[in-house]
């Protein structure tokens, strides 16, 4: 009796685990299918340049301030933390390049990606979700306009272009912050600081960050628009879709970061 109970309990757990694995795989399948349709419509006329420019403005320009703010503080705090670690072994002259490399390869693309996933990704899912529940998406389709082409494509292209640019900005501002703290607060000699920066920092490091940011931008916007289109009913559905877009956008950034790193270190 006791054994049977135990076995049923175990079976139920395994079943549930299996179900969630199947669900995850199905979800991945659906989003890949969605990606395929986005690609298909990306290269079909009419090209919607005006919508693209609007989205570039929204994703790009409107994230500049927050990226500058986050970037400068990231650089400043990194300089501090690195300095106190390096001072112990007397390599404080290397604070500059270490902060710069960390920013270029990891922090700038990942943090800018998280910011864009939170800000623009949420907005995209909310906009498309609202259009879905108010039948505006159907209205487009009834007119014979592809809602994927009209709504998803401009957002995906814009984010894929804008995120590497924001990452570049993040990197620049972050380094400015680190130089400021390093030379003015921590009193590292300015000439040494900049010299070491030039010695250890290479274009390949910057490329690594920019390539990552391009992939992040593509995936964040793909995930956000996907969850927007998945919204089925009501304001509650829009809230849920927005939430999923942000959560999965951010998780995708963090997970992809690992795989991209392990791939890019070999080819760059």
């Amino acid at each position: 009796m006791e054994n049977v109970k135990k076995r049923n309990f175990l079976l139920a757990r395994i079943e549930r685990l299996g179900a969630s694995i199947i669900e995850a795989v199905e979800g991945l399948g659906r989003i890949s299918h969605f990606a395929g349709r986005v690609f298909y419509w990306m290269f079909k006329r009419p090209y919607r340049t005006k919508l693209l420019i609007n989205q570039l403005y929204f994703v790009g320009n409107k994230s500049i301030f927050i990226c500058c703010l986050a970037g400068s503080f990231t650089g400043m705090v990194m300089a501090y933390q690195t300095y106190f670690g390096f001072k112990i072994i007397n390599v404080d002259s290397l604070v500059g390049p270490v902060v710069a490399l960390t920013l270029a390869k990891e922090l700038a693309p990942v943090l800018a990606g998280l910011i864009v996933a939170g800000r623009a990704g949420a907005a995209m899912a909310a906009q498309i979700g609202t259009m879905k529940v108010t039948e505006q998406v159907d209205a487009l389709e009834v007119m014979g306009i592809s809602s994927i082409q009209y709504l998803a494509v401009p957002r995906v292209i814009a984010t894929t272009i804008a995120l590497p640019m924001l990452t570049g900005l993040y990197l620049f501002v972050g380094n400015a912050g680190s130089v400021l703290v390093g030379t003015k607060a921590l009193m590292i000699d300015e000439a040494i600081y900049l010299n070491k920066l030039g010695e250890f920092m290479f274009m390949a490091d910057i490329w690594q960050g920019l390539i990552k940011a391009t992939v992040f931008g593509f995936v964040i916007s793909l995930v956000a628009t996907y969850f927007g289109f998945q919204v089925r009913s009501g304001a509650e559905g829009v809230g849920k879709g927005t939430n999923l877009a942000v959560v999965w956008g951010m998780i995708s950034v963090l997970v992809l970061d690992y795989f991209l790193t392990s791939f890019l270190v070999h080819i760059l």
Partner: protein, 250 residues
């Protein structure tokens, strides 16, 4: 079942299932040209699903549907999208693009599908908005600043912009107050009258029996995926069908 010469829409043995759920069952249903036809039915009967088949947004599981003599199944995706320009549709909540003004909403299909100049677009939009009874003071308002009735008017003007051969109305009066309901019904009739010479068929989905009796030429009753009654409006009230009787006396 009623049959017509060269119907605007012709369904032959049309069935649709979602998974195991059979939603439309073996429909043989013809909608005549240049008439107003109402499809009545309880909620969940499959009315919206039927409408989506007319638009080619859904494809039948079996059977076929022809619109204006064209079998929709024979069209490639691009051709089908293009073919939809034969349709205009008024959605239940108008489905106006909420980032665009009244004027831009109506101009939208003109900008997308015609090569009209700005001036020509202005004249056309003005003409359309006047015909649904909207004045210039509401041209540059956003949908959020319009009342439900006004939104319906804008939605109707937008649907009519490209001179559709078939106008679809999905529950045009559900959830409206009696005065706005009357206004929308009057508009449906006057738009049908106005576009008669050009040839325009109107298909209305509704559960408003009384209004349907007065504005339609023909009425069909859809119950759980089957057309159980289809009569000229003048005879519909005298239907012997038990379900229809119950629906009318609701």
């Amino acid at each position: 079942m009623l049959s017509f010469d060269k119907p605007a829409i012709n369904m032959k043995d049309l069935s649709k299932s979602f998974g195991e759920h059979s939603i439309l069952k073996n429909l043989n249903f013809e909608i005549p040209k240049n008439k107003i036809v109402t499809i009545l039915g309880f909620s969940g009967a499959g009315k919206s699903t039927l409408l989506k088949h007319m638009l080619g947004l859904l494809t039948p599981t079996s059977g076929s549907i022809s619109v204006l003599g064209q079998n929709l199944e024979e069209l490639e995706e691009d051709e089908l999208r293009h073919f939809r320009q034969n349709f205009g549709m008024l959605f239940q909540y108008a489905a106006l693009f909420d980032s665009l003004s009244t004027y831009e909403n109506v101009a939208f299909p003109l900008r997308e599908f015609t090569k009209l100049t700005e001036e020509e677009i202005f004249l056309r939009v003005q003409d359309l908005l006047t015909s649904v009874g909207l004045e210039e003071s509401s041209y540059y308002k956003l949908p959020s600043e319009l009342s439900g009735g006004m939104r319906k008017r804008v939605g109707l003007a937008r649907a009519l912009a490209l001179n559709p051969r078939i106008m679809l109305y999905d529950e045009p009066t559900t959830g409206l107050d009696p005065i706005t309901t009357k206004m929308v019904n009057d508009l449906i009739v006057s738009m049908a009258e106005k576009n008669k010479d050009r040839g325009m068929t109107s298909v209305i989905i509704s559960h408003d029996v009384k209004a349907s009796l007065s504005i339609s030429d023909f009425i069909a009753f859809l119950d759980r995926g089957s057309i159980v009654e289809y009569l000229p409006a003048s005879e519909f009230a005298k239907s012997e069908n038990e379900l229809v009787k119950r629906f009318i006396n609701l």
